[in-house]
């Protein structure tokens, strides 16, 4: 079976797919790719189904030795990828030969990059999905990131190579939000600050949630009971610093849900680097 070896795993490189659905009832988050637009593009470029699992890299990508020739595609963040030291483009199908090394630099635009390999990656499934979810040890590698020296194998389904190039949207600095169920618990001043002032993602963020720094948003009241939350929901703890619930996020929370982002917007938001100022608009 064709394979490759991770010479360097990168900062946080995981197997992801479209996630496990229908399990939030049991408090199991969907997980899956953080930028579904980029992941879909990568799978399309190699001729895979959109449901195929692929490799998600975060901020610093891996170095991979391919033991077999195959069609691959790189999308999402521009990680200054090279094949045998020759720069290669993102957003197009690439043919890599056996013995060649794919190597990433650090992310220039965006923070998450996708590597799709033509065929079916052999990865462990939990509840019908290979998506890595660290907290509950679900998916490939019992929920752990890919490791140094790890070999990944894939099954060839249909071999083909088409020269395709797709374009990607630039990462915006303004994100559309909608009023959440507890929007009206925001003080009047906070409602104005939410759209007028700049926020940034702080480095204590992860796949569960993006913590935001910005103006301290005041609430007129808190919540008595925990309520449902979904990826894209913006929660506001009493500290006044909002948290955007992401793909591995919890399914209930005790803080007012002041706003929410749609899935497409969340894909773009998930490419935003730490400490980059941005604004919300309603």
């Amino acid at each position: 079976m064709p394979s490759c070896t991770f010479i360097k795993p990168g900062l946080f490189t995981t197997i992801q797919d479209q996630g496990r659905t229908g399990l939030a009832y049991y408090a199991i988050p969907r997980s899956g790719v953080m930028d579904s637009n980029a992941a879909d593009r990568a799978n399309t470029l190699v001729g895979n189904e959109l449901t195929a699992s692929l490799i998600e890299t975060t901020m610093i990508g891996p170095t991979i030795l391919f033991h077999s020739a195959t069609t691959i595609a790189l999308t999402g963040a521009d990680m200054q990828w090279k094949i045998n030291d020759q720069p290669v483009s993102i957003n197009r199908s690439l043919y890599i030969q056996a013995g060649e090394v794919l190597k990433s630099g650090s992310a220039r635009t965006g923070i998450r990059s996708y590597l799709a390999i033509q065929g079916k990656i052999m990865a462990k499934e939990s509840y019908g999905s290979c998506s890595t979810y660290s907290y509950a040890k679900l998916g490939h590698n019992e929920g752990q990131a890919l490791k140094k020296g790890e070999e990944l194998r894939w099954e060839v389904i249909a071999e083909s190579y088409m020269e395709i190039e797709l374009s990607s949207a630039p990462i915006p600095r303004r994100f559309q939000i909608f009023c959440g169920p507890e929007y009206d618990l925001l003080a009047d001043e906070a409602k104005a600050q939410l759209v007028d002032r700049e926020f940034m993602i702080t480095p204590d963020s992860n796949r569960m949630g993006a913590r935001l720094a910005g103006p301290q948003l005041m609430l007129t009241a808190g919540l008595e009971k925990s309520v449902a939350v979904l990826p894209g929901f913006i929660q506001l703890p009493m500290s006044g610093q909002p948290i955007v619930i992401l793909q591995d996020g919890q399914t209930t929370g005790g803080y007012p849900r002041i706003a929410y982002m749609r899935k497409e917007e969340l894909s773009l938001f998930n490419q935003l680097a730490f400490k980059v100022p941005f604004k919300f608009y309603l």
Partner: protein, 233 residues
């Protein structure tokens, strides 16, 4: 005011957030939404991607099949008689240290008094949420409610039993947590290899049972599920 909707015996407030999600909020404080959430989940409506049931509302995450007439299907829902609830004993090693100082301070009770009351109480599973295998249990008397920590602990051990406001909680997974820990259970509540991953259902009862350190370690080395443990009793 949000429009109201009648589903079986439930009078609910309906809030629709575009084509993204729907909230069904309860209007009568005394009514439990547990059976309704379970029925909606089991009915597997084609327009519903996720069902999250909490004490005050049911959240339905919508998918691309949702259209203006989708919600009509909910109105035709008939509640199948709610399943029988089961009572389980949960063995706990109550520790001396942990967060007892905060509990004694907030409740004005000694550790011994508070513990005696905990052991005398019957709890019921209010909801699942937060993280996989986390249990929110109802049944804590008002005067035993303890505020959450102002700064959450970085890491709460798997198996921790803790008080958070009016809830008693069980942590299946290690995680950061703001609840006041009273002890630990060696019982395995979460099993990722099976569906459902948690065998206890909302409405089921839990009675805490104190165990010795020796029993705790024996069970920890040979972990049992809640059902397996109760079959041994």
């Amino acid at each position: 005011m949000s429009p109201s909707v009648q589903i079986d015996k439930y009078e609910l407030e309906l809030e629709v957030y575009e084509t993204e999600f729907v909230l069904l909020k309860k209007t009568q404080a005394s009514q439990s939404l547990t059976s309704l959430a379970q029925q909606i989940y089991q009915n597997q409506y084609d327009f519903v991607e996720e069902v999250i049931g909490t004490e005050s509302e049911i959240c339905l995450k919508l998918n691309k099949h949702f259209n203006t007439s989708s919600l009509e299907q909910l109105k035709d829902l008939k509640l199948i008689a709610s399943p029988k609830t089961t009572t389980y004993h949960l063995p706990v090693l109550f520790s001396e240290n942990e967060d007892w100082a905060a509990i004694e301070l907030a409740s004005g009770m000694s550790r011994k008094t508070y513990l005696a009351k905990l052991l005398n109480q019957e709890f019921s599973l209010a909801m699942l949420g937060f993280l996989p295998g986390f249990l929110y249990l109802n049944g804590l008397p008002q005067k035993m409610a303890i505020p959450r920590k102002t700064t959450p602990a970085q890491r709460v051990k798997a198996g921790s039993i803790a008080i958070g406001g009016q809830y008693l909680g069980f942590y299946s997974l290690p995680s950061p947590g703001g609840w006041q820990v009273v002890g630990h259970s060696p019982i395995r509540i979460l099993d990722n290899a099976v569906l459902p991953p948690v065998s206890i259902n909302p409405g089921d009862r839990i009675i805490l049972q104190t165990i010795t350190e020796k029993t705790y370690h024996a069970l920890l080395n040979n972990p049992l599920s809640l059902i397996e443990y109760n079959e041994l009793l």
